[in-house]
Symmetry: C2
Subunit: 183 residues, 2 copies
C-alpha cells in the first residue's frame, strides 16, 4: 500500500496514537488502513467412501490436486462460502456439515477453514478454475501431487478419523512455506 | 475505496474478466482490490467457576461488558490473537484451549472465533480499551449490559454446556444488526 484508498494521497507507515503496531496512515486525510488475515474456506465433498478433488487450472500450483476452497467474500457466512466454492470449482452441490479443520498460515496471513460436505449427487464438472474434477477412494488419493500441505494435512486427519470411527475438529498451524509447499 | 492503493489513480467498480463479483479496479495500473471479511478473535478466560469480562472504554458499546476479543493481525495465529487480545484488554495471562464458538456476522463482514482460555493467575487489570475488568460467577453475569449478542450467545452456550457436563464447539450466524445489538 502506497496511496490512501480514501483520498489518493501518499500513506506512510507509523504507529497511530493508542495502537502498538505500524499501520498505513494517510498524510492528508489521516485515514488508518488496517490489513488483516483473510479466510480461505472450503470443504471435503463426500459421497459414500469417496471424496471429490479438483485439479487446479490456475496458479499457484497449476495442475495439482486440491479440495474446493477459496477466499471468503464479504456478505456471506463460512458455510455459504464453502458451498459456493464447491459450486464454482466443481459445479457440485453439497450440504455443508461440521467444521473439520482450521489451519493458521501466518506467513501468508491466511486462515483455512475446511468443513465436511455431503455431495447431493454426482453431477459434477470442472469449473473455470479446474482442469479436472474426480472422485477418489482413500487408496487412490494423489498424495504426491496435492497442491497444498493444508489439503494433505486435512485429508490425513480425515482418513485417520474415519478409520478410528470418530470425526473430530482439528486445529493446527503451518508456519513455513518452504518446508510445506504452501503458496 | 475511491483511489488505488498501489498507484493513487481513481478506481471503478467492475467485474474483472473471469470473476463474477464487482471489484474495485484501478483505471491506470489495473490492480484489482479485493475486500474480504475480517476475523475477530478472543477467549472466555476461566478461573474455577468464574470467568473474566471487560467493560469497554471504547466505542461501539462504550461502558458495556464483553469478552476480551479483537481483530486478528497479520502474522499471527488465531490462538496467538486470542491470547494477545486478553493481554491487551485485561492484562491477563491465559493458556488458550479449544475453539469454542464461531459466529458469522455477514452484515458487517466479520467472523468471530472465541476460544476457551485458562487464566494462569488473578493478576489482571484494565488495559487501555477497558474501563474495568472483573471475574463473574454465572449468577452474576450482567446479561442486560453485555456489549454484543455474539458475547451473550457464546456465554449462554458456555453455561448450558458446563451444566450438561460436556463442552462442544458451536457454529452460528448473527444476521441482523438491529435485532441483535451487534455493532
Amino acid at each position: 500500500m502506497r496511496y490512501c484508498s480514501n483520498c489518493g494521497a501518499p500513506v506512510s507507515l507509523k504507529i497511530p496514537p493508542g495502537d502498538n503496531l505500524p499501520r498505513h496512515v494517510c498524510e492528508r486525510c489521516q485515514s488508518i488502513h488496517y490489513q488483516n488475515p483473510k479466510m480461505v474456506v472450503g470443504c471435503i465433498p463426500e459421497w459414500g467412501d469417496e471424496i471429490l478433488l479438483c485439479r487446479r487450472a490456475i496458479d499457484p500450483r497449476y495442475g495439482l490436486w486440491t479440495l474446493p476452497a477459496g477466499f471468503m467474500e464479504n456478505g456471506e457466512t463460512t458455510v455459504e462460502a464453502a458451498a459456493r466454492e464447491t459450486r464454482e470449482e466443481a459445479n457440485a452441490a453439497v450440504d455443508i456439515d461440521a467444521l473439520y479443520t482450521l489451519f493458521n498460515l501466518p506467513h501468508i496471513n491466511q486462515v483455512y477453514l475446511i468443513f465436511r460436505g455431503r455431495l447431493l449427487n454426482l453431477d459434477y464438472a470442472p469449473g473455470t478454475e479446474s482442469l479436472e474434477v474426480k472422485m477418489f477412494r482413500e487408496a487412490d488419493i494423489p498424495w504426491d501431487t496435492l497442491a497444498f500441505s493444508v489439503v494433505a494435512r486435512t485429508l490425513r486427519h480425515f482418513f485417520e478419523d474415519r478409520r478410528a470411527g470418530e470425526m473430530s475438529f482439528h486445529l493446527g498451524d503451518i508456519k513455513s512455506s518452504a518446508a510445506n509447499r504452501d503458496g
